[in-house]
Symmetry: C2
Subunit: 237 residues, 2 copies
DNA sequence: ACAAAAGTGTTCGTCTTACACCCATGC
DNA sequence: GCATGGGTGTAAGACGAACACTTTTGT
C-alpha cells in the first residue's frame, strides 16, 4: 500500500484554575508563525519516539512548556483541518486538546520552550478573537463551559479541588467556578445524599474567628465522569 | 526546526441505528493485519490531500467503506498510542472516532474497500474482546452509553430520528434505544414543556387500525448538544 | 362491538429552593 | 457581646412516576 503524507499532530492544553476568585484559563503568546505574537493555548508536537500515548504526550508537553505536571489532565476534543499548520503537508494540522485543572494557588507555570509570555484569561472576560490564534478562543470558551457544567452537576472536576477542604471552602470554590452564589443548605444536602464527600475523623480547622469546621475529602466512589474518555478509562459505565 | 515522524492518523466510525427493535452498531471484519479477521469499527486513513477537515474525512471514509453518507456524524473521542499501527513509525497510531446515527431502515451499508464483512452488533449483546480488534469493543460500549444517555435526557441524537414522526413512533424509538419502556404521559409532557417537538399543521397519519395521529418534527431550537464539538460548532453555549 | 393506539388528567411522592434559625469560636 | 462562618431544619413549590381514563379510527 502507498504511504500517505500525514497531518502534523499536536497536543494543546487548556489549563484552568482559580485566580483572584475567578475561573481562568492559561494562554501563551506565540513566538513563531503562524499567528506570531497572538495568544494561544500552550501546546506542542506529539513525539512518537517519546510519548507512549496521547496522555503521556500531554504530560510531557505541560512539563516542557510550563514546567508543571498537572494533577488532572483529561482529553477534551480534537480539531483538524487544512490551513492550520504551515509546516505540514497541505498545511494540515491536527490538535488533540486536553483540559487540565489545578486547585487555586497550587501551580505556577513558567514560560518554557517557544513560549514568549503567559497570561491567565478570565472565563467571563475572554480575549477578543483578534488577539488569539487559530480557533483557540472558541476552544477556551468551550472548555470553560465544560468545567462549569461539571461543577453545576457536582461532578467535581477532580483536579480543581484540594485534597482536604472544609465544606465552606468547597462551596466557595464552586461559586467561583460558576460565578454565581449557591445555597448552603442545598449544597450540603446534595453532598450528603450523593455521598460525594466524607469527613476526616477528628480533623478540624481551628484558629479562624468563628466556629471550627470539619475537614472533608472527596469520597473515593464519588462523581464518575461521563465523557467518552472517562468511560473508556473506567471500562465503560 | 527538525521534522519529527508523525503518527498514522485514522478515522473510525461507530455507525448506530435500530435493527429489529434494538440499538446496534456496525462492525466490519478486517481484511488485513493487525487483527486480521477480527471485528473492528469501519475506518480509514486521513488523506490530507483530499479531506478539508476531520469531518470531511469521516464522510469520505463512510462513503468509501460503507457506500453511505450518514446524515449525522459527530466526533466522539480520540485514542492514540504506540502499539496500534504496524505501518507507522514506532507503531504509533492515532484514531479519531466518530459516532454516526441513522434512523431505522434508512441505511444499507455495503462492504467497500478493504472490508471483508459487515455485521450489526447489538448493544446488549456485544462481541467478546477475543473477537474484536484494538480497543474497539470498549469504544463501541462507550458510544452506546453516550447514545443512551443522550436519549434518556431527551437530547435527541438527531440522526436517529426521522424528519417527520408521530409521538408514538418517537417514544417507541427511545424505548428501543434505551431497552426499557417509558411512560406515555410523562414522555409527552416533557416534550411539551421543553418545546422539543412541534406539530406539522394539518398533517395526520391515517390508515392504521386506530385513531389517526398528528405528525411532528423536532423543533429547530430544541436539544442543544453538550459535547465539546457541539459547543465548538454552535459558537459555544 | 371491539381492538388498538392516540391523547389527556389526576394523584402522590420526591427532590429543590429559599429562608430561618441555632452553634461555636476569636476578638 | 458580637461578628463570622459552621451547621441544621422546614415550609412551599416544582418536578416526575404511575396509573386511570376518554377519544377516534379500522375491521
Amino acid at each position: 500500500m502507498p504511504t500517505y503524507p500525514m497531518p502534523l499532530v499536536r497536543i494543546e492544553i487548556a489549563l484552568q484554575t482559580i485566580v483572584d476568585g475567578e475561573l481562568v484559563t492559561l494562554m501563551v503568546r506565540r513566538e513563531q508563525a503562524p499567528y506570531r505574537d497572538r495568544w494561544a493555548l500552550p501546546g506542542g508536537v506529539i513525539r512518537v519516539d517519546q510519548d507512549r500515548d496521547l496522555d503521556a504526550g500531554a504530560q510531557r508537553i505541560a512539563l516542557e512548556r510550563l514546567g508543571i505536571t498537572p494533577p488532572y489532565l483529561t482529553q477534551f476534543c480534537a480539531v483538524g483541518s487544512a490551513g492550520r499548520e504551515p509546516r505540514a503537508p497541505h498545511d494540515w494540522g491536527l490538535s488533540v486538546v486536553y483540559r487540565a485543572l489545578a486547585p487555586a494557588g497550587t501551580i505556577a507555570p513558567v514560560a518554557g520552550k517557544r513560549v514568549a509570555g503567559l497570561r491567565w484569561v478570565q472565563a467571563d472576560n475572554p480575549l477578543p478573537a483578534s488577539h488569539t490564534a487559530f480557533d483557540h478562543a472558541l476552544i477556551v470558551a468551550s472548555a470553560v463551559a465544560a468545567t462549569r457544567q461539571q461543577t453545576a452537576a457536582l461532578e467535581f472536576p477532580r483536579g480543581l479541588i484540594p485534597e482536604r477542604f472544609t465544606l465552606g471552602a468547597l462551596q466557595r470554590l464552586c461559586e467561583e467556578v460558576l460565578g454565581t452564589p449557591l445555597d448552603k443548605s442545598s449544597f450540603r444536602r446534595k453532598l450528603r445524599d450523593r455521598k460525594l464527600v466524607e469527613s476526616i475523623e477528628g480533623a478540624q480547622q481551628r484558629g479562624e474567628a468563628h466556629r471550627p469546621s470539619a475537614i472533608y475529602r472527596l469520597s473515593s466512589g464519588g462523581s464518575i465522569g461521563t465523557t467518552p474518555q472517562d468511560r473508556l478509562e473506567t471500562g465503560f459505565a
